[in-house]
Symmetry: C2
């Protein structure tokens, strides 16, 4: 029987988004599984397999799906394992042989696993802003800062499958403590959580300046975005600061792999109108002459709800 | 006629080292051309072609050489051009179509060009410390700091052929002005010139402390090495400082490409006994847990006089 469909699954700390995708990159059916209630991996896998089987059956596509692509935090393409993912209740401080377990629960259907940022990079290259671009760096600005590096049309996995942890390169030497335990990581400043931390610091350091943000308790990056759109100077300064740190880090990334473009994706990338200019300025100020004004900064063109599923699904076509 | 030999040429600011190499990586004959007297590219190419023809003829190998591999500052593998190389008297502020010109002067013999650090990486992979290693980063610690990045057994050239300028990533934000015009580059601290600058700064900042280096005028990195070997505490502190900056930069490079090893090469790499420990400590202190104590720091195993020729020559086998 012909198998013209694949499953794409994007696993996050709260939910697993699952979808059936055709070769044109259309999500034909999708569903969401809550992923923060299971404490052991087998329970999660069993719940996921039931969800996928029901999804295929409801769509009338039993037997027509050729494989499963999965993006997950700390997912390793080479080994198929999820290795010590602190945000997944069922994968903390252990190695879960995820691809093998899911394949078994799905009656032998082949499974490809990678980390969520790599999956996003594949999705962007296959269906999004990076179509036709063979050398680019995907930066995901979400709760954390992730990255997927594409070289000559292939995702860079490195010696051990963990390449592309650019969120944990140093943005500020001796700076803020990051969730990973190190100091000054890009993620500690330029993630959604990082931007909220910057906002709290800004308010403390400028006690005499007014800002809409003073009306908020538990400031989020979304609050900062809303305030910036309303013309709040403090919020705009916070995005200037964030964009500056991103841009100067990007300059170092470019010196490594000489990409054609850097593609931004994730919730914080919605603040394009406030981030684009400071990123481009800081990047070019820190680049060697050979690259000045030559590297494109692109923003994802995929809808966020589809992108994660599409990216993961794209892995499955080669299975 | 069988053509079992290649020519390897390493072009530096002072000399071009030329050699004939066999498939086992033995340098059968070599010679040196002074490269800092010509002010136009054609004069240099003509002198180089004469030198190469004489080398082949003297060795009795006319007609048995299949191609030429060249490593040169700012050499571009894709275009065959040397682009604005400030250290080459005949390639300043211009693009020299080097591969094409040399091939014409050599009666059509094929020529492959890359930058000197990439050539060293190929040499190390083919004949040296990186044999059997498919993912590594070569760092050349010479007058400048260069790098060649190998991924899956292939040199990373990037979108434009200029990938791997890790000497110009930021080691100290807002730090010393580098030869490239930017501030705080790794090269401004960890090259031979950078180490000499650190020595001068150290002496100024510690007026009351004795050091053998106070006896020197125009301190060089070699003076610092000699003093460190003689037990000079200041010189050893200077290497600690240098190794620390290298190690913490290496941690960021590892987060990019997840290599199996970092290989050090060049004049300054001779100071292994003083650099190894501070590099390894700073690197591991700045790595994510998944890489701590896992990435090897290797020192080139090729003799320096051969390595440059061997590396360049290795490019020519695929012509």
């Amino acid at each position: 029987m012909e198998q013209p469909y694949v499953l794409g699954i994007d696993i996050g700390g709260q939910t697993a988004k699952c979808g059936i995708v055709n070769a044109r990159g259309e999500v034909l059916a999708q569903t969401i599984l809550v992923s923060n209630t299971q404490t052991d991996a087998q329970s999660f896998i069993d719940a996921l397999a039931s969800t996928l089987k029901k999804l295929m059956s409801d769509a009338g596509l039993d037997g027509q799906v050729r494989g499963i692509g999965v993006g997950a935090p700390n997912g390793n393409y080479y080994t198929g394992e999820i290795k010590d993912a602190p945000n997944l209740t069922w994968a903390r401080a252990k190695n879960v042989p995820f691809a093998k377990m899911l394949s078994e629960a799905m009656d032998g259907m082949p499974v490809a696993l990678t980390n969520d940022a790599n999956a996003a990079a594949v999705g962007e290259m296959t269906y999004g802003a990076a179509r036709g671009i063979k050398d680019f760096i995907m930066i995901t600005l979400g709760t954390g800062v992730g990255s997927g590096i594409v070289i000559g049309g292939n995702v860079l996995y490195g010696h051990d499958g963990f390449a592309g942890e650019l969120g944990h390169t140093c943005a500020v030497r001796g700076g803020r403590v990051c969730g990973c335990g190190k100091q000054g990581c890009l993620e500690a400043y330029c993630s959604a959580i990082g931007v909220a931390r910057t906002a709290v610091e800004w308010l403390e350091q400028h006690p005499d300046e007014s800002s809409l943000l003073r009306l908020r308790e538990n400031i989020t990056s979304k609050d900062v975005f809303e305030a910036a759109k309303a013309g709040d100077k403090a919020a705009q300064e916070i995005f200037d600061f964030t964009g500056n740190l991103l841009g100067r880090s990007f300059a170092d990334f470019i010196a490594f792999s000489a990409p054609e473009a850097i593609v931004l994706f994730g919730g914080l990338a919605r603040a394009k109108e406030f981030l684009y200019e400071p990123i481009v300025k800081a990047m070019n100020d820190n680049l060697l002459a050979i690259w000045k004004d030559k590297v494109k900064i692109l923003f994802s063109s995929l809808s966020e709800s589809d992108a994660a599923i599409l990216g993961a699904s794209a892995l499955a076509w080669n299975l």
